[in-house]
Amino acid sequence: MTLPPIAQTAVAAFVLLNVVIGLVTYVTLLERKFAARMQSRIGPYYVGPHGLLQPIADALKLMMKEDVVPSSADRWVYNLAPIAFLVPCVLIFATLPFAPGLGLADLNIGVLFFLAVSSLEIVGLFMGGWGSNNKYAMLSAMRGVNQIISYDLPFVFAALVPVVLAGSLQLSAIVTAQQGLWFAAYPVIGQLGFIAYLVATLAAENRVPFDILEAESELVAGFRVEYSGMKFALIQLGEYAHIIATSYLGALLFLGGWLGPGPAWLGAGWFTLKAMLVFLLLTWVRWSFVRIRVDQILAISWKLMLPATVLLLLVTAFWVAWRSGGGA
């Protein structure tokens, strides 16, 4: 029995969605365990062996919590915000090729699609902050909009360095271009690009040291302060899905994606391993540094990151043109 193509895609999308949600749920446990190690703690331990069932317990707890809607909230915007936040964060997984031919849609312009859709998360974030009708949430949303516009540009420029090196916007073509040498191993250009990508990711994901929009000492919990129960869970899920997707993209752009020793069917495993490595790098920074001020964050973006990444992209382009024999 063969299904029509559209049904096949729908089934594939359903499977991918569930894999992603399962992965994202367990990544929270990974982060908590890792953070606990860094601080000489044990971390979640009692639910299941070594705390392995903790994410499931957390999810069940959030599902059973009372759903509170503030009486002065803008109900439509408030209720739709978690969905508007989650959808782009999950949609970006659609274009990632996990192994040769294993992915939902290996678009010609995969990188652009990823960058475009992932920046739409800001709409959900803003809706949450504004719809809650709470001054802390509102301040946080304004800071978030500010910060995400500032760091989108360096993020895009850093992500374009591998694109220029590979000469393609298609994600699978970028991986095959790294068969000889991963882009992170390219002398100077690769390392600088990778570092810029990591820093811009930290800021675009609002993680410490750039987490001014949920700075708990000033803003309680940022734009989601009024959310509870399942809606809070959706926002949390979206946030982690976004950072995992960005880790996958980083592993794909700089660390060779599914390439690795062993048979081809190990590809998805290598890719996930590398993505987790990128995620742990980001987590390592998160638990090592202190938060910096708003003006410092914006100054770093506009005065350092943006010129530096543009320069890096220019140098990369010149180098590629020179290597290919003086351009077209």
């Binding site: 559209i6 803008d74 439509w76 915007v77 678009l107 010609n108 312009i109 652009l112 699609f113 960058l115 475009a116 859709v117 920046s119 739409l120 800001i122 709409v123 803003f126 809706m127 504004w130 304004m142 909009v145 516009i149 989108d152 916007l169």
Partner: protein, 163 residues
């Protein structure tokens, strides 16, 4: 199947546009505009214009919307627009001008109808960039100079101190 998808997305686009015009609350209007832009991007994608669809999302649904939202948050204190409409006389012009626009659009659609998509198939993004940077280099650069001039102009106007 493609037709059903088109009808769905088109209805979404038109509904969002109506919501944008009818809603008094400016933030709700901005949200409707996001939906409208995104559904238009989906329409571009269905027509095989991948790059245009993504550009539509980056530029309109992303950057321009963020700018709108920012301006609304800073400049409009209340949630709803209140008070008398300062431009009442424009309403009288709306119907005839709208009808004119509709007629023009129908004329264009009628002229193009039946010719079908170009035989060359969907243009790849590579061909698009090549065309932009070779055949159409001059208009492309002129556009970027225009944008640069606009940015510099805004900076000059914003920096000018009164008195």
């Amino acid at each position: 199947m493609a037709r059903a998808a088109f009808v769905l997305v088109a209805l979404l686009a038109v509904g969002a546009a109506l919501g944008l015009v009818i809603k008094k609350n400016v933030i709700h209007g901005a949200m409707f505009l996001v939906v409208n832009m995104a559904s238009i991007a989906a329409l571009y994608y269905m027509l095989g214009a991948e790059f245009l669809a993504v550009a539509q999302i980056v530029v309109y649904a992303g950057a321009i919307m963020v700018l709108f939202i920012f301006a609304i948050m800073f400049l409009i204190p209340g949630k709803d627009e209140t008070g008398p409409d300062p431009r009442r006389w424009q309403r009288a012009l709306a119907l005839p001008l709208g009808a004119l626009l509709l007629i023009l659009l129908l004329a264009v659609v009628a002229a193009v109808r039946g010719t079908g998509p170009p035989a060359a198939g969907p243009a790849t993004s590579g061909a698009l960039y090549r065309a932009l940077l070779t055949d159409y280099l001059l208009p492309f650069e002129l556009t970027s100079i225009l944008l640069l001039a606009a940015i510099v102009g805004v900076m000059v106007l914003a920096k000018r101190r009164p008195g």
